[in-house]
């Protein structure tokens, strides 16, 4: 029987962990080996601020540390656990948390572990990742010593800003302009001179098209810069590759955030139901669970949205279809009311990402329960509102708030300029941030950088060009193409 208490040994936790793993297996979860470390707050916050154990030092992580530590010291929120996806996985438990809290956290981590191991977006676990993280940290320390901490830190920050532009997957295809063609006009033969001139124009355009670089618009900005950038040092190329490798580690977690947290909450809820808790321990566990999984006013809590989506899947599997329209009923017809709810949840954990899960399982019921629309509890959400919310959420998770920006020319105007195009959907780039980012990009590239987007001017939307000539001078915004 688990009691509410604040003293325990590692062996006590070991016993609990064995129990939890057994129950997790019964639920259908297949968590990998996880090493649980019982560590002081300093260590938990140190790992949390660098996000990966053994990662290089950076002043920006210090800012995160100050933030989290201040919240912890004021008692405004604490981190219960940090988990690191490796082989074996490592989870860091905060010493001084109560026994019940540790039990819940262990069960929670088993959910994460299952997603790490079985969700296809994570791919095979990179066994060498921890070693490469340590080696990268050692190299960056050397660069700090050799080239100055400030300069290297700024370079790392710039890389991190553009690492986000590596595509989450390679499915999104870029538009490649077709080869220019000669289009014959009626009566062409009456005007041979005119025709010859047009032929010459097409030939020139073809020549340019053949020499275009890159041959296809490139979304992976850092990869392109590392390969073709002007005047990059070896250490700079190394930093770019380090940051890209980190992004490859973070990207699957970012694209399955809602699913991952949902499964972790689902795991701790179900496992705790199986464990024997005395009444105090039970109350404490309920309070903790509520704290983690409640909706946040005006903000999205992935724990809450995740568990609500999974609950919806369970409800549909049980055949509860009230409030769903024809289209939705049809979509779920193949398995609604006929599938084991838990098996369906595990199936989703092992095959979906956030976008596909939201597209398929976000219903008006979830929208109400997760308070995605700011309405008093119990008030119905209209179908129109629901569709707007769903589309906005899906759109956000498609790009995670990163606008699609592609490199369209690596030798712009024959002067080596980097030309980019913002593939907008009606909303342009933020002017201040675009100018700041472009100056950083110009610094990475080593020559001027130009991005084309749109902006509002006098009530109309017009094409706009942001231009950074040098990293140290302010970037310009122009409403006409630079020539």
């Amino acid at each position: 029987v688990i009691t509410a208490r604040s003293t325990y040994t590692a062996a006590d936790l070991q016993a609990i962990e064995d129990l939890c793993v057994g129950h997790a297996r019964e639920l259908g979860l297949g968590p990998p080996e996880i090493l649980f470390h019982l560590v002081p707050a300093e260590t938990v916050y140190s790992v949390a601020c660098r996000q990966v154990p053994g990662r290089y030092s950076h002043a920006d992580f210090g800012v995160a540390y100050e933030r989290m530590k201040a919240a912890y010291d004021r008692g405004e929120g604490r981190i219960y656990e940090v988990i690191f996806n490796a082989e074996p996985a490592h989870a860091y438990l905060l010493e001084g948390n109560s026994f019940v809290a540790q039990t819940l956290v262990i069960a929670h981590c088993l959910g994460h572990g299952d997603v790490f191991r079985h969700n296809p977006y994570f791919g095979p676990t990179d066994k060498d990742f921890p070693a490469r993280v340590r080696s990268a940290a050692a190299r960056i320390d050397r660069y700090y010593a050799r080239h100055g901490r400030r300069a290297v830190e700024d370079f790392i920050s710039a890389c991190q800003a553009f690492a986000l532009h590596a595509p989450l997957d390679r499915l999104g295809r870029s538009y490649t302009p077709p080869e220019p063609e000669f289009k014959p006009l009626p009566y062409d033969e009456l005007f041979p001179e005119e025709q010859a001139r047009r032929w010459a124009d097409v030939e020139r355009a073809r020549e340019e098209w053949r020499r275009r670089f890159p041959t296809q618009p490139e979304r992976d900005i850092l990869a392109f810069v590392a390969e073709h950038g002007h005047g990059l040092d070896d250490w700079q190329r190394d930093v770019i590759s380090i940051v890209r490798a980190e992004h490859a580690y973070f990207a699957p977690q970012a694209r399955t955030k809602v699913l991952n947290e949902g499964i972790a909450v689902w795991a701790h809820q179900h496992i705790l139901q199986e464990l024997e808790l005395d009444s105090d321990a039970f109350l404490e566990a309920q309070a903790l669970n509520a704290q983690v999984a409640c909706p946040h006013a005006g903000d999205l809590n992935p724990y809450n949205l995740g568990i609500e989506l999974l609950r919806e899947i369970e409800a549909i599997a049980r055949g509860e279809l009230d409030g769903l329209d024809e289209c939705e009923r049809e979509r779920f017809a193949a398995w609604a009311g006929t599938t084991d709810p838990r098996r369906k949840v595990i199936e989703v954990a092992h095959s979906y990402d956030d976008v596909s899960m939201l597209r398929e399982f976000l219903t008006p019921r979830v929208c109400e329960r997760a308070r995605l629309r700011d309405r008093p509890a119990g008030e119905r959400v209209t179908r129109e509102e629901f569709e707007r919310v769903r589309d906005a959420l899906v759109a956000h998770h498609l790009t995670l708030g990163v606008p699609v920006v592609e490199i369209v020319a690596g030798d712009g105007r024959g002067r080596g300029e980097l030309w980019l195009e913002h593939r907008h959907e009606g909303i342009g780039l933020d002017e201040e941030y675009a100018k700041g980012a472009l100056r950083m990009l110009c610094g990475l590239w080593g020559k001027p950088a130009i991005v084309r987007s749109i902006a509002e001017q006098g009530g109309t939307t017009r094409p706009v060009w942001y231009i950074a000539e040098t990293p140290d001078s302010p970037a310009q915004m122009k409403f006409s193409e630079p020539s």
Binding site: Q14, S46, S57, H58, D60, Y65, L372, L429, A434
Partner: protein, 366 residues
């Protein structure tokens, strides 16, 4: 699957990152502390208190969608995390030790001279070693390091990096020690209003903190005066309330008497600091100026802080006829006069009295 105590990871990596960041935002921290030096609750809370300093971090630029348009879209439909980069303000918590280190780094006791040997075990520092870290930048060694690095890289010139910096650092040697005494004198007469007294106390509080933190061998003596002056304990000095007329000369005489008896100028650096509203019994002013001039024979600094608080809704009376004017009419080298009218002037006043002398000059003299 094991549960283990500990992780083998360094515990302090987060704190070290935070220190690097604090070094980056040192300026902001300094400015914020200097602003807040007049807040009484900093003092009231005692040495365990931690001070929160809000810091605005650099914008983390990247490509994002137009904030003006995404914010209002759909009239607040659903949360859209990640689209709003947010105002990036966070708090840095400093304990009093860090607060004082940061504040006092740019202050110094002026004209501090080594005095006659008093104790055999006294040590002094000699700046004769060069290290990567230390209190004093050595420009020559730094330049040498940069040139060496350029030569190694086979280039004519390389950019300056932090790693080039070389500092002078010290060895400790038995030497005649610098010892100092500070006379802190406060006007507690009836014309000092509550605000006057508060500012005077704050000023002296920071003065005492500065002296004690920075100098091991410093005596601090406290003198309170109305029409007559007497030496008081530190406790009394900061808490006593009195009333009555003002005769400033009494305080200077009192300081002079104690100095003559206990602190011969041949052995001690003598500092005199006085705070008052300047409303002295008029005929006494000339006498004060004479006394100050006489004191300068034995003092390294006589500082006079005139507090001119403006009562709300009234025009300032102006400093006409007040003590500061008399002192400024007959300037004496080493006499520093500062005026404060509110909390925000406390830091500039401290800076005026304890201006750091040119570092290199100090090294040469040592």
């Amino acid at each position: 699957m094991p549960v283990a105590q500990g992780s083998g990871l360094p515990e302090d990596s987060g704190r070290r990152d935070a220190q690097h960041n604090r070094a980056r935002v040192r300026r902001q921290i300094q400015d914020a502390l200097r602003e807040r030096i007049g807040e009484e609750d900093i003092i009231a809370a005692g040495p365990d208190k931690r001070i929160r300093v809000p810091i605005r971090s650099d914008r983390r630029y990247r490509f994002i969608l137009d904030r003006g348009r995404t914010a209002g879209r759909d009239g607040g439909t659903g949360p859209q995390p990640g689209t709003d980069p947010g105002e990036e303000v966070y708090e840095v918590w400093l304990d009093m030790e860090e607060v004082e280190e940061t504040l006092f780094a740019s202050l110094d006791l002026p004209r501090l001279k080594p005095k006659r040997e008093v104790a055999a075990d006294a040590e002094d520092v000699v700046f004769d070693d060069i290290e990567k870290q230390g209190p004093l930048l050595d420009k020559k060694a730094t330049l040498r390091e940069n040139l060496l690095r350029a030569a190694r890289a086979g280039e004519d010139e390389v950019d300056w990096t932090r790693d080039d910096l070389r500092y002078l650092t010290w060895d400790e040697e038995p030497r005649p020690r610098t010892q100092a005494v500070a006379f802190l004198m406060m006007d507690v007469s009836g014309s000092m209003s509550g605000d006057h007294k508060r500012i005077a106390r704050l000023f002296f509080y920071w003065t005492v903190q500065f002296l004690r933190r920075r100098y091991t061998h410093v005596d601090v003596r406290f003198i309170a005066h109305t029409t007559e002056a007497r030496e008081v304990t530190e406790q009394e000095f900061f808490n006593r309330v009195e009333s009555g007329g003002t005769l400033v000369s009494s305080a200077y005489e009192c300081a002079r008497a104690i100095q003559r008896q206990e602190y011969p100028a041949s052995d001690w650096n003598v500092y005199v600091l006085h705070a008052s509203d300047g409303e002295n019994f008029y005929p006494d002013n000339e006498r004060v100026v004479d006394l100050v001039a006489a004191l300068m024979d034995v003092c390294s600094l006589v500082g006079y802080l005139q507090i001119a608080v403006r009562p709300p809704g009234r025009f300032a009376a102006g400093s006409g006829g007040k003590l500061a004017e008399h002192l400024e009419q007959r300037p004496v080298d080493g006499v520093v006069v500062a005026e404060v009218s509110g909390d925000r002037d406390i830091w500039p006043a401290l800076q005026r009295f304890f201006a750091k002398e040119d570092v290199e000059e100090a090294v040469i003299r040592a």
